[in-house]
Point group: D2
Chain length 337, copies 4
């Protein structure tokens, strides 16, 4: 941590900062320049987390030197993590495809989709049983009955399954059925939910918040890992910007940024990122070439009839064709698919 | 709802849309232009909510004509709402000042602050007992003990009290003590929490999400009101933009926009919006002149010692001076303060 | 300037940075912490502007300590600037109202408007002769004929006049007629235009770029002042965000931020910021209460017939009423109007 | 164009709109719903461009049905455009690599770079002679002498050359030397410059504005094409968002969106988009897999010594390795490289 003093900060102000630092058992290192004095802090800076040095007299700015996340930080864990999800793994040598409907609507819709995505090459079945919807008047999900259908689909196809959880109650139900809990974008900073997902011990797919920075995202992962659950996979799903040609703006740079800052695997969801079916295939290829560990893609037997997010869902035929087109890209990126 | 067809949409595509609309018991109204055909829908459009007309063959775009929120919409409730909070009201003729520390730290800190803000003119005491923090290693709040201190402060000062709730568990505890529940920015689309706050019947202060549109915000209010709880006050607290000179960008336009679209009261929080103490006073005056129904302001006996958000907190003296400066602005805006 | 080294930076890397700094005649100040080494630079850091220390081996980050703008910086010019514009001044004790049509359309429209805004209390007449339009098929302005009409309006009413310039050619024409050149949002980083406006010696109204940070804005002002032209007034006109309820998001915080960082006057344009007539009056009041030195407001004899930006223009009656409502706010803010 | 009336709009208001439309020689088509009346306009809507129907009494909203750009619109030009640049072409079967230094510094730097990028496989040499810099105190470019060096590099290597132009004066000089003019992000809505670039007849590389929507970008291209110059190539270079881990946020979705809306080629600049050398290679691969027609990449003999944008520049070795890695991706995407 570095404290930059204002040009007019006097000795009293500087001495006050030095004393505050030393009172916490840390070392203050002064650097007096022509214009300003800079004070470096040596030692465990977490002791200063709540010291509010920003507003001490004479202080201009405080600059953090180290990140606040530790367990998700590549600096302290240089090797790529591998996360087991049911009978598959997400990680450096695999390409993981999670596919399925946005919302589980009924047994037929889910079973048909599970069989189709399995046949095309997916490893994990996705399906929403608890749906966070902007309007209270939209379809809200089948809840535990949906989870049971997912369990049945797993038994019939051998796919691993992932379901979003939106509350304490949903986690309690989901842990009985699923291989992976999904925390959605709107709940990325629902810290109570993160802690409970951490305590469950079940692998977690953590979607990036609608306007979350990468630092906030890794701090959210930290909440889960701090509860003893290392099995976290990140999912880039687009961020909110001024551009309206796509529903969100897919931040493809997040892939190399995460690879640089963290050891956690990262997958990309081009369906939610764009909201437009025609843009899913090109961005799916782009994500693999950029280094993503996998993809999450919405598939529906009849997108036009879907109860949620139909416009971005692929038909079975489109999904199968996409998987075929992805294979050479996966190979080129050194991944098994 | 209006469906705009693509220039090359043929009769089959147009007839398919018309049939879909009519099958729901609605009327389709065709308008064939030189370039494109447009289809208007007459009747209760909620029947088409999940029809996915966007991806039917030949469709270019679907344009919503009416908002998805009803109960929070001024169109169906032209008069301004008044919300009672303990022994005060938030609404058109009052200026409500909610003030207090970001986090409740101990009895002395809270009681001193309560007495000071009461003396300066505040109506409501704010104080965080359940703190959503970006890092799991930051101070997380005193929880139920904090609520008890708030209750004690109310008894000593006569101020009404508002506390943030971040989970089912926190709501269960808070309803025993507080006059108003606060839903924070990070939980604005935690729909389970919104429903529970709605069911509690306790007045709710609903902060705008970090990157929420005004439409999403009013839909979040709709979740609360749809449970039978009309006592919702909105709080603008800044939105996330590219600008870094302030912590968030205070969207002052939200005040007249909300006044135009909704009957709910709106207050402004310049402390969280800017994160900088020096900017609180000018923006507090600006908010009143723009038409806000009140303010939320952080006050701390020793901002430099605060466990959370010290840099934006006012001292007792600064807060008292601000209240004195605000009085003529409140009068000019036709509000009692 | 502070250079933060990576945790694993070795002696060679550190010595290389120190040598680079010392070769420029500056002093390097080392601070070796438990985790990282930090190097402070003492002396004139402009010598290191192009040294690219960010990518030297072992460097994690470079943190700037001082702003790159000097002439527009309050640190080196503590008193508020006053800018003369024709026979009026923009500055701390005055409230300046610039009003008029978005685009000059014909003599009758301009003269009527000039007389009306003068009568209501405006000090400066605005009117666009060179219009930057998103589409090449929209009305592009009357060019020099428009400037002549502005000159005529000045003679008839005594108002000072301001016109936007969009090119070298436009500046050459405008300096013959106007009291103030306006650089629009789209040209805020058209550095050639800024330099020419600086060289002209004519006062400049510098609108904030559509997505410009406050630092970039003050650097743009620096381009003008560096040519010897100190007469710069800033104009906040909304920034681009994800919110669509208003055309742009008025960043009201820019007023106190600019007052804190710079000595230049700042006015607010609620017409362009919101794009909606009904939101102009509340935000105009809010801007004055927040501390703005003035307002820019669009007025048109028949907004419905306007060739540009009609939806946000006030009628003469609306403008007169607004001016009457603004007077007590101006008085309260200690300004003459 | 569709006009949506307010729920309470009366017959007078509706008749006024119908009359306005019919007075322009267009046909108005009424659709009276239970809640609102909708009026469709049939005929050439450009006649209504300046009618300001938004603010006519009783109007709620006006919805545009067709885009304002025509010449850059794929609807009216279904085949992909091919743009010749010197002795190479940008378009559907080629992968174009534009590489070189951000700023031309001297003969040696430029010639070495030209030879190195040619050897590695680049088709076009980039180099800045007129530099738009945020601060007036940063290096501003060699101007015409830089253009002469570029011309010399072309003669020695056979590479085509592209240079940014920032003013009328720069265009006058550049057309004597270059194969392609570059309009930078800050000038994307400098409409005078766009018109002059259009009139020059020289191919234009049009970078996306810092916060430009795709619609605004295609309208900017329209300004160039409307002057009779069809040779426009678009360049995605990142947009401004709240995320700070990269300098800008590379909007990879822009590639399929542009391919869908326009016939113009599009290339991607991962160097400026991220500002970080380590992120260039993964995003370059991703861009090709997503369907980009080419890349623009910064290369410098000694990035650490660069006068501009060193942190994002590749060394010769890094660039050669990247080109080798890109080849199989180009082949997979069906492009010659």
């Amino acid at each position: 941590m570095i404290i930059i003093m204002k040009p007019n900060a006097d000795e009293t102000a500087i001495n006050h900062i030095v004393a505050t630092i030393e009172n916490k058992g840390l070392i203050a290192h002064l650097s007096k320049g022509a214009e300003v004095t800079i004070i470096g802090v040596i030692g465990d800076k977490t002791k200063l987390l709540d010291a509010n040095l920003e507003i001490a007299p004479g202080v201009d700015r405080v600059v953090a030197v180290t990140e606040s996340y530790k367990l998700s930080n590549r600096k302290f864990h240089p090797d790529n993590s591998i996360v087991s999800v049911g009978n598959t793994v997400v990680g450096p040598n695999n390409l993981t495809i999670m596919a399925g409907p946005c919302a589980i609507e009924n047994e037929e819709q889910l079973m048909q989709t599970a069989i189709a995505v399995k046949k095309a090459g997916a490893n994990v079945l996705r399906g929403g049983a608890y749906k966070p919807r902007t309007s209270p008047y939209s379809f809200q999900g089948l809840e535990e009955y949906g989870l049971k259908l997912m369990d049945q689909a797993r038994k019939e196809t051998g796919l691993s399954i992932v379901c979003e959880v939106t509350s304490h109650r949903a986690i309690e139900a989901a842990v009985k059925y699923v291989d992976m809990l999904q925390i959605g974008a709107r709940n990325m900073q629902n810290f109570e939910l993160l802690k409970e997902a951490g305590k469950s011990g079940v692998p977690v797919l953590l979607k990036r918040g609608i306007a979350a920075t990468i630092d906030e995202w890794l701090n959210a992962a930290e909440y889960i890992i701090a509860e003893g659950n290392n099995n976290v996979v990140l999912c880039e799903r687009g961020i909110r910007t001024y551009e309206t040609a796509t529903r969100n703006t897919l931040d493809m740079s997040a892939v190399p940024v995460i690879k640089s800052k963290s050891h956690l695997p990262i997958i990309v969801d081009p369906s939610h990122a764009t909201g437009v079916r025609d843009y899913v295939a090109p961005l799916a290829k782009g994500a693999i070439a950029t280094g993503a560990d996998g993809l999450m893609i919405e598939v529906h037997p009849c997108p036009e009839c879907a109860l949620s997010d139909g416009p971005q869902s692929l038909t079975f035929e489109q999904f199968e064709q996409l998987c075929n087109e992805l294979k050479p890209y996966a190979n080129l990126a050194g991944r098994i698919f």
